[in-house]
Symmetry: C2
Subunit: 243 residues, 2 copies
Amino acid sequence: MNLKLTLEYDGTDFCGWQEQMGQRSVQGTVAEALARLTGQNIKLHGAGRTDAGVHALGQVANCVVKTQIPPEKFAKALNPLLPPDVKVLTSEVVAEEWHARFSARGKLYSYHLLLSDRPRPLLRHRALRVGASFDLDKVEQAISLFLGRHDFAPFSAKGSSVKSTVRTITQAELLRQGEHCQLLFAADGFLYHMVRMMVGELVAVALGSVTPEEVAATLATAERRRPPLTAPPQGLYLVEVRY
Amino acid sequence: MNLKLTLEYDGTDFCGWQEQMGQRSVQGTVAEALARLTGQNIKLHGAGRTDAGVHALGQVANCVVKTQIPPEKFAKALNPLLPPDVKVLTSEVVAEEWHARFSARGKLYSYHLLLSDRPRPLLRHRALRVGASFDLDKVEQAISLFLGRHDFAPFSAKGSSVKSTVRTITQAELLRQGEHCQLLFAADGFLYHMVRMMVGELVAVALGSVTPEEVAATLATAERRRPPLTAPPQGLYLVEVRY
């Protein structure tokens, strides 16, 4: 049967989603547990590749397995074979042609900022720390510029081969909770490093080194005059994949 | 000068506050950084000993140092010499006789519960997971039983030599935030494992294995008929030391 798995992981100690020889990947770790549980060599398809240090609250993957375990109990059977930093939240059977990546209609990411003038050990792997006087109002004004359909080529890193760099952002929102703040981005798809580069741009706006007009111009022309900032991975969370 | 340091740490990879031969303690780690910064062999006095795995948002310590660094800049000078999982939030000069432990008038602890039926990797070192149907109402009713002046001997582990086991709890409160929940306890002082054993008792109440009447009787008589539950360390945070 074709199984859909929803996963949570702490990205800190993984080299990222994608299997890499000699490194500890999420994909490889879960595939290994699947092999131990079923005795089969199982190919696991993820909805998207998260980088090293990026977390997931709802990564989705699918795999074809032969098993007597009822699909909804598969998560419970697999979890004891997984290390503490990655677990399966839910498992369900899906149609044969269903694919975690190709069937996805969109994704939701969250980027966490911590407004603090002091290093904060408990959040060192969980958020990007900016100063307490960081100008969130500027971020709030600029974040909506990303909404809609744009060519996001200037907000993507080289190294991925995609047919089109046009994406539609359906949600771009700032949530404030005291010194904690989340930047939420939902889209029909994201390019490589796209969220981290949008966050980098918003940080530059808040610091005054880029104006909202420049952001708008970059989005309108799909050309970039300045080298981009890329926010570090530890603040990024893949919240949800939408089907 | 006598320096008061306020510290945050992630307790996961420490053997606890107290220096222990051959182990990685918070006290030893900070003392080592102090020695590197000042060239002096410095004795660090903590407000209290947190166990392995227990976190601190505001542990307090003091030490006598000879230094040209202005006291309020001392934190900034020390932090680069500290590992990422412990940092000094603030530093200030205090009176010669001031002592982090003996001058303390009270402490505030928080214990984090996660109400989820699934293992949650991102919170594995940060909260105690209980089921989604965990009965918080029972906890809310029972937690106020701890308020006031009681002999907390039944809520302390052996191994500490204190003159009196009587303490006064000034705050005992449940905060609910969806699946996240905090149990807050403020007192003039806490015995060894006292918060973890109070939380263990409240968990037993929620599960129905102990009645609120039994909790009240245990507090009234300072005698215990059942072996106590001790909640695990990873949910516990030393929030604040009061002077």
